[in-house]
Symmetry: C2
Subunit: 568 residues, 2 copies
C-alpha cells in the first residue's frame, strides 16, 4: 500500500510540502487538512487587497496563471486530497493517527498517517482589551477578516482608523487606509519607535517622519487601555489620551499555533513554537513542522528564532516535501531578513539591529551612511541610508538595515548581505562584496562597500562620530557653549546656516582647514558637519592630526539630520 | 623623513590607494603620476556622457559634492601631490626609483620611492584595420575620445554609426547613439552572439531582440576587414558586406598596460596583466598593483581572472591603501559580476556562463526560468528571466545570468548570488537564500529560490527539458512527424495556436491529463509547453509516471519562446 502523508494546515507551508512530496512520489497518498474553507492564500498580500492594489480577494489564492487554489485544483492538478473545514483535534503518535472533526457536520473521524506535517501557522496576538468585541475591531488573521475590512471601506463606513502595533502589518495597513482611501489613520505603538527590534530608533524615526508627511499620525510609547463605542467602535483610549476611530486594526504580532504539537508531547519552546531540527523534523522523526508555528535557528548567533513569514514557510515547505520522500534536505538557519513598503519609501534589514545585538550580548556598534544608490553622476538615482551593526572585538557584521525611495535597490543590497550571514561575515567581506557595477545600477565603490569601509574606520578609531540623534542632543544644548558646530562644506552651502545661527554655526571648507585651523577653539567639542559625512570625516582626520582632542564627525551629515527631522 | 609612496596612474585605483593611504598616514608623502592632464574620472560613465544623460564631461570627474578632482583638489583636500602630463618610463627596483618624463616640457627626472603602486590601467585593443586612422573612427579610451565623439554628435555630424564589438561598452554606445540621438546604428561582432562569454546565446538573443526592437541592427559572427572613406570614414567592410557609417566606435576589449611592470621584471601573465597576490602585491613586495592592469583570482575555480571594471579598481585601491600603511587587508578573489543597461532592459550575471563553465572543464548544465520579480498578485512587476549554471557532479552553482525590465530587482538577485560565490555555494544554498519577503519586493518563493529549485529538479532528472533554442529546432522540424507539441494550458490559451497550427499543436490542460493521456501518441517526442514552464513541468512528471518515455518540458514556456523570438 502506498504511503500516506497527512498535512495539517493548508495556507503556505502545508500546500508546498504536500505538492512537493507528491511530485517526487507520484504514487503516494497525501491529505491536506484545513479548518477554513479558504486556504492556500498569500496572507502577506492582505494589506494590498485592502488598499485596492489587488482588486479581488481571489487574486491572493490564484496561481501565476490565474487558477484558484481550491479543492478541485489540489485534487486534479496536484493530486493532493483536501479536507477543508476540518479541524485536527489530536495527534496520537503511538497509533500514528490524527483525530479530525468536520466543522460543518460535526462528524469526527481518524486518519492514519505514515508521516505527518504540522503547518498550523500562527494566530494574531489578542490583547484582551475591554471593547475588543465591538463591531469594526479587527485582527488581520485571515481572508475573512480581510474581506470584512474591505467591504466596510468600499462602503465608505470608515473616516478614522486606529492601528494598534507599528510592525510590518500595522504599517502596511496604515498605508492602505491612508494612501488609497483617505482615511485619517493613527498608529499606536507600545514601544517608542516604529518597527521595534527590527531597526534602530534613528532609522525608525526616518520612516515615521515619511509616513507622517504622507498623513499618518503616530502615538508611540503608548498602550491601549480600552476600546469604546456603542455597539460599533467609536474611540480608542490610550495611556496618553483618546483617539476617535470608526475602525480599529489590532496587529500586535502573532502567536504560534503549537497546541496540537504540545499536547502530543513534541518539544516546544517555552515562549511558544514547535522546535525543529535543520531537516525540519520535530522531536518525533515522523513528524515535520515549519512556517509560522515553528522555531528555527538564528544564523547570527545560533539562538532560537521565531520568524513568521510566508517566505520561510515556502522554503521550509519544500525542504519538508523532499525529506518526506526520503531526500536529505536542510534548512539550516535564517538571518531574519525583512522589507516593508511605506508609501514612497522602502525599509529593509537583515540580521540584528544595534539594540538586538546588544541584547544578545554583543559589544556592538553601528555606523550610518547616506549615499546615492548608483553612480552619483547618473541622473536617475535615490539616496540610500544604511546602518550597519558590527561586533567590535571580532569585526563580525551582525546586521544591516536601511531606508530608501529606491526599494528594489535597497532590498537588493540587504539580500546580498543576508546571503552571507550564515558564513558569519566580517567587515572585510562586505567591504569587498562584489556588487555588479555599471553606472545605472551601482557606484564603483558601492554604498554597500562604503558602509563596510565606514564600519572599518569606526572600529579602528579613524572615524569617530555620531548619528543624527546625538547631533540633535548637541544642537539642543548649543547655548551651553560646550560645542562648536563646524560646517566643512564650501561657503555657499554653509551660508544659510551662518545667517540663521551666527553665534553657533561656523564654516571652514575642508580644503582650507590646513590654513585656517587656528580659528577653531581648542576647549570646545568640535561637531563637524557636511552634506553626507564624507568631507566631515576627512576634516576630522585632519583636525585629529592637528592636535584637536574633541572632534566629532556627524555621520550622514545634513542629509541624515534632515531625514531624522532635527529642528535646524 | 616620512615615507614616500609613488602611485603611477590616476584614474580609479591610483587615486583610491593614494587617498586611503594618506588618510591613515597623515604624515606620509604621496605622489600621484598620470600621463594625462585629465584624470580621476569615471570612465564607465562615458556612454552616458555621450548619450546626454550626463550633460557635462566634468561631471564624470567631480565628487558627489560637485568638486572637480583636479590637481588643487588632490593637493589641498587630499594632501596628495599630483604630477599630471607625466609619464613613468622605467621602474628601477634596485634603487627604488621611478624614471619620469614631463610630457609637456620633455624634462626627465627621477622619483625615489619607499613603496610603489602601479595603476596603469588598460588600453583599448587596436584591431590594426586598414582605415583605422580615418577621421571619426574612435576608441572609447579616455575623456578626450569621449569629448570628441560628443562634439560631433551635438553638431549633428553623424547619421549612421557602426560599433565594432558587442561587449558592455559597445552595447552602451549603441544605445547612446540610437536612443538619444536617433543615429542609425549597427553593431558588428565577431562572435555569433552579443556579450560573448558573459551569458548564453539564448539570453544574448533576448537582449539582442530587445535592442533590435529599439532600432539597433546587428551583424553577428562577422569580422571587419577594413574601414573606408575619403579622409573621413564613410563605410565599414565586413566579412559579409558593407555598412555605411559616419562614425565608427571600436570597442573590442582592452589590453592591460603591463609594460612598465614587465620591463622591470615583475611577474606578468602570458596573456597580459600584472600578477598580484591577495594583498595586491606584485612579485616585488614593495610594489602593489590592481585594477585594469592586474590579474586577480577567479572565485569560482581559482583560475587567473582579468576583470577590468571600475568597481574592482576602487575596492582593490582601498585594500592597497591599507596595506601600504602596514595593515593586513586582502582582496581574495572575484566572481566576475557584471550588469549592463540596454534600453528598457537590464542584463546581469555573476560567475560562469554555461559556455565558460564547460570550457573550464566543468560537467555543467543550465536551467532557465521566467517568473515575476515580486508577488505575482502585486500590480507593478516585471518578468525576470534567469539562467543558472550548475555542476552536475557536485551540485555547485557556477554562475547565474539574467535579463529583465526591472533592472534593480535583477541586479539585486545577481548580487546576492555573487556574494556567496567565494563560499562555493551548492544549489541548496540558493534554494534557501534568504531573499527578504514582502509582496512589493519579492515572492514568498522568490524567483532566485525558484531557479535553484529548478536546477535541483533538473539534476535529479525530475525536470527534463530544453530552452527556447532547442524548442525552435523542434518547431522548425515539425513537419518531420517526430514531435507532438502539447500545450498544457487551459483551452482558451491554447486556442489561437490550435487554430493556426491544427496539425501540429495539441492541447490537454494539465488537470485533464490523468483522464485524457490516452489521446497522446506513444511513438513521438512529447514537447510540453505552457506559459512559463511550471505547468508543463508538472505535466511532464505526470506523463513520465504514466509511462511516456520521451517527454520534454519547454523551460520558460511561451514567455521565453516569445522573448527568444521563435517564429510561432
Amino acid at each position: 500500500m502506498s504511503e500516506h502523508v497527512v498535512v495539517i494546515g493548508a495556507v503556505a507551508l502545508g500546500p508546498k510540502a504536500a505538492c512537493r512530496y507528491k511530485r517526487i512520489r507520484q504514487d503516494a497518498r497525501v491529505t491536506l487538512i484545513d479548518r477554513d474553507e479558504i486556504f492556500s492564500y498569500g496572507g502577506c498580500g492582505i494589506p494590498y487587497f485592502v488598499s485596492g492594489d489587488v482588486s479581488e480577494a481571489n487574486q491572493l489564492r490564484t496561481t501565476a496563471f490565474h487558477m484558484v487554489r481550491d479543492e478541485p485544483f489540489f485534487n486534479d492538478i496536484k493530486g493532493v486530497e483536501v479536507l477543508s473545514s476540518t479541524e485536527a483535534t489530536k495527534i496520537d503518535r503511538e497509533n500514528k493517527q490524527v483525530h479530525i472533526t468536520n466543522l460543518k457536520t460535526g462528524e469526527k473521524s481518524v486518519l492514519d498517517y505514515d508521516q505527518l506535517v504540522i503547518g498550523t501557522g500562527a494566530t494574531p496576538r489578542k490583547l484582551g482589551l475591554p471593547g475588543e468585541e465591538l463591531e469594526n475591531v479587527f485582527y488581520v488573521g485571515n481572508m475573512h477578516d480581510a474581506e470584512k475590512i474591505k467591504e466596510g471601506i468600499t462602503k465608505g463606513q470608515y473616516g478614522k482608523a486606529v492601528v494598534v502595533g507599528a510592525g510590518f502589518i500595522g504599517l502596511e495597513m496604515a498605508e492602505a487606509f491612508s494612501d488609497m482611501w483617505g482615511i485619517e489613520t493613527t498608529v499606536v505603538e507600545i514601544f517608542d519607535q516604529i518597527l521595534p527590534r527590527m531597526c534602530s530608533p534613528v532609522l525608525a524615526k526616518m520612516g515615521q517622519k515619511h509616513m507622517e508627511e504622507e498623513g499618518v499620525s503616530f502615538k508611540l510609547g503608548q498602550t491601549v487601555s480600552r476600546i469604546e463605542g456603542d455597539g460599533k467602535v467609536e474611540r480608542v483610549i490610550t495611556s496618553d489620551g483618546e483617539v476617535e476611530a470608526d475602525i480599529v486594526i489590532i496587529s500586535a504580532g502573532v502567536i504560534p499555533n503549537d497546541k496540537l504539537a504540545r499536547e502530543c508531547g513534541l518539544e516546544c519552546s517555552e515562549r511558544g513554537g514547535i522546535m525543529v531540527d535543520e531537516t525540519m523534523r520535530t522531536t518525533d522523526p515522523l513528524i515535520f513542522s515549519g512556517g509560522d508555528c515553528a522555531i528555527i535557528k538564528n544564523a547570527v548567533d545560533g539562538s532560537p528564532l521565531f520568524l513568521p513569514m510566508g517566505s520561510m514557510a515556502n522554503r521550509q515547505g519544500r525542504v519538508i516535501g523532499g525529506n518526506l520522500a526520503g531526500r536529505k534536505e536542510t534548512f539550516p538557519a535564517a538571518a531574519g531578513s525583512w522589507c516593508v513598503k511605506i508609501f514612497e519609501r522602502a525599509m529593509s534589514g537583515t540580521g540584528m539591529s544595534l539594540g538586538a545585538a546588544k541584547q544578545a550580548g554583543f559589544d556592538a556598534i553601528s555606523v550610518m551612511l547616506i549615499m546615492a544608490d548608483r553612480a552619483h553622476f547618473y541622473p536617475e538615482k535615490d539616496m540610500m541610508t544604511l546602518e550597519m551593526v558590527v561586533d567590535k572585538a571580532t569585526r563580525r557584521v551582525l546586521g544591516i538595515q536601511g531606508i530608501s525611495a529606491g526599494g528594489d535597490a535597497l532590498v537588493g543590497r540587504i539580500n546580498a548581505v543576508a546571503a552571507i550571514m550564515k558564513y558569519q561575515p566580517t567587515i572585510e567581506d562586505v567591504s569587498n562584496l562584489e556588487v555588479a557595477y555599471s553606472p545605472p545600477f551601482a557606484s564603483a565603490m558601492d554604498v554597500l562597500n562604503a558602509i563596510a569601509n565606514m564600519a572599518d574606520n569606526a572600529i579602528n578609531g579613524m572615524n569617530h562620530g555620531h548619528g543624527p540623534d546625538i547631533f540633535a542632543e548637541y544642537w539642543d544644548n548649543r547655548e551651553s557653549g560646550e560645542y562648536c558646530f563646524l560646517d566643512v562644506r564650501e561657503k555657499a552651502d554653509a551660508e544659510p546656516f551662518l545667517e540663521k545661527y551666527p553665534e553657533h554655526w561656523h564654516n571652514i571648507p575642508q580644503g582650507e582647514i590646513p590654513k585656517r585651523y587656528e580659528e577653531l577653539p581648542k576647549d570646545k567639542k568640535l561637531v563637524l558637519v557636511c552634506n553626507t559625512g564624507g568631507r566631515s570625516y576627512e576634516a576630522q582626520i585632519m583636525l585629529d592630526a592637528l592636535g584637536f582632542e574633541e572632534v566629532h564627525n556627524t555621520q550622514g551629515g545634513m542629509a541624515v539630520i534632515k531625514a531624522y527631522g532635527v529642528d535646524i
